[in-house]
Symmetry: C2
Subunit: 343 residues, 2 copies
């Protein structure tokens, strides 16, 4: 730990500093950090690759995002994509570009979050790159996972009459972000204000330190069930369900009353004047899993606490519909709140 | 082609626009762009992974770097790392963060260079991410390659008495950068100046549109020879040779007069008052291969036009030495010019 500037130790010193405690966890990791490329090995299974880029001011605001949480979340967002293929993440590469304002302590915080997530999910850091930037912080992570060929679940497999399911609860991450943005504005006006965020701790944690649903993938394995299609919810339920429908060439009907939201998110929604369901549909960053299951699996699914059945797949000609609590039917649209959009 | 702003087509529109012409080239690419993760397959061979992040103002200056060249170079830099393991690159992921100043035409130029490099080297684009940024352009590429387990060449295998070899010529990319920087300054003083860069076309191309040495890897295969250690020269010969020595726990002696430089680089060096050998040692971005070979391979190597033997590996106790043309012996140090360093 040090207040030393990055410039004082140089790139090679920084890489050595950031990677010296890495211990390899996976047999498929033949050679990790320390050469031109990492070496992986794999037999009888397929390899999954996904990548994300996060930029300061667009994906995160360092005024209220602890760097350790940011590192953790950057990893989780990528692992979530591997789980969404019904696979197991095993390796990541981490590239970071940062301006001169960051101290070694700050970078250490960021990487401690990265390594914490890797430890929790059993993933190896096998390479990466560090660079300076003119302004701000950019993090680019690539995750590599494996899956048995017969286990992989794509977005394209949803069939008419399939059940539409989601894990956990939705909308909390977006509401957490709104609380943080509100407190930032309060702080800008009155730097002596002491926010009391206790009643919002769940939704703030959902925003700052989300988890990937490895447990759901484990349930599928334990119960020997396989979704027909799956995607993780990073951009909001509407947008993700539209992806599944478009890729599978089907329609859907979901029910507002079935969309799972947390009690504290509902309370925050009232306070912020944002409907928790709207937040679930358009907010994103929940990293829950959205998947479809054959109707025949209903009996086995209905008692799993962490899974909610929110509707069913229809013929494409019936469109993509949301049935409101009032029984009014509206078309699903991919609005998003632009957090991850190019704009 | 369009002057349309990125914001007008949205992220999904942009992804569709950027990926619609991708054709899969490799059998190992089971599923590319269009799901949470790409799917690769691999039997009997090992997988290589490498990644780089490039940021505007640090790695490139858009006042004299055409975006198409930038995209090409960003890919080549990563493929070079796979070749430096004696492997074959087969896939890349591409993540780009860009500020609102970029038009769709500009992004199209960038990706046309990315796809051109992929076509030339037979590589598939299998995924990526696009994002906005507050300022500037950041490109993060991950390359995935394969190699037979027995073919992989690490940095750590150099043995005492091995020959130290380099491909092509060194130092030109750095001298090309100096010419471009000089012309930029002239242009800033007099925007009507018309630079005549014809005599510097080789060194400028080395800077703006480098190639990775696939042909050298092919020669190794054809002749059934395998280096004992290898690295690509992205940071300058000194720095890379020190990596090989440190990883292999050996010393080295190289000879100034043996370091290959191009004639036009020598001319530019005189004009710019920079020794071409100093540029070769510390300049970087040549993307040539530095490797060691058993002494017994001398007869087979000496007649290969594209390979120069510049010295030999010694016992670690003898240090890392450069014998100057004056026969004076100096210690090799990793200076670099900081182009890729965190500073």
């Amino acid at each position: 730990m040090s207040e030393q500037k990055i410039s004082e130790i140089g790139e090679f010193g920084l890489i050595e500093y950031l990677t010296k405690n890495i211990k390899i966890k996976n047999k498929s990791t033949v050679f990790g950090v320390g050469d031109d490329a990492a070496v992986l090995e794999n037999n009888d299974s397929k390899i999954l690759i996904t990548t994300d880029i996060l930029t300061e001011g667009i994906h995160f605001d360092l005024t209220y995002t602890p760097l350790k949480h940011l590192g953790y979340k950057a990893v989780v967002a990528n692992l979530s994509d591997i789980y969404a293929m019904n696979g197991t993440p095993e390796q990541i590469t981490v590239s970071v570009a940062m301006s001169g304002k960051f101290t070694l302590d700050a970078i250490n915080e960021l990487y401690s979050g990265i390594y914490l997530a890797c430890d929790k999910y059993g993933v190896d850091v096998i390479g990466g790159d560090t660079s300076s930037s003119i302004t701000g912080l950019t993090i680019s992570i690539t995750a590599i996972g494996k899956a048995n060929p017969e286990d992989i679940v794509y977005r394209k497999g949803a069939k008419i009459n399939d059940l539409i399911c989601v894990s956990g609860d939705l909308g909390a991450a977006f509401l957490g972000l709104q609380v943080l943005e509100r407190e930032k504005k309060v702080f800008e006006v009155n730097p002596n204000s002491q926010p009391n965020l206790d009643q919002h701790s769940y939704i703030i944690e959902r925003q700052l330190k989300p988890e990937a649903r490895k447990d759901i993938i484990d349930i599928f394995k334990d119960k020997n069930i396989k979704p027909t299609s799956m995607i993780d919810i990073s951009d909001g339920l509407s947008s993700e369900l539209i992806h599944i429908c478009n890729n599978s060439n089907v329609g859907c009907t979901i029910y507002e009353e079935k969309i799972p939201t947390d009690h504290t998110a509902n309370v925050a929604g009232l306070e912020l004047n944002i409907s928790p369901v709207t937040s679930a549909l358009n907010g994103g960053e929940d990293y829950e899993l959205l998947f479809t299951m054959p109707l025949a699996e209903y009996e086995r699914l209905k008692d799993i606490n962490e899974i909610a059945i929110i509707g069913h797949i229809t013929d494409k000609s019936q469109g993509k519909n949301l049935v409101l609590r009032t029984e009014k039917v509206v078309e699903l649209t991919a609005q998003g709140w632009g957090n991850d959009n190019v704009e």
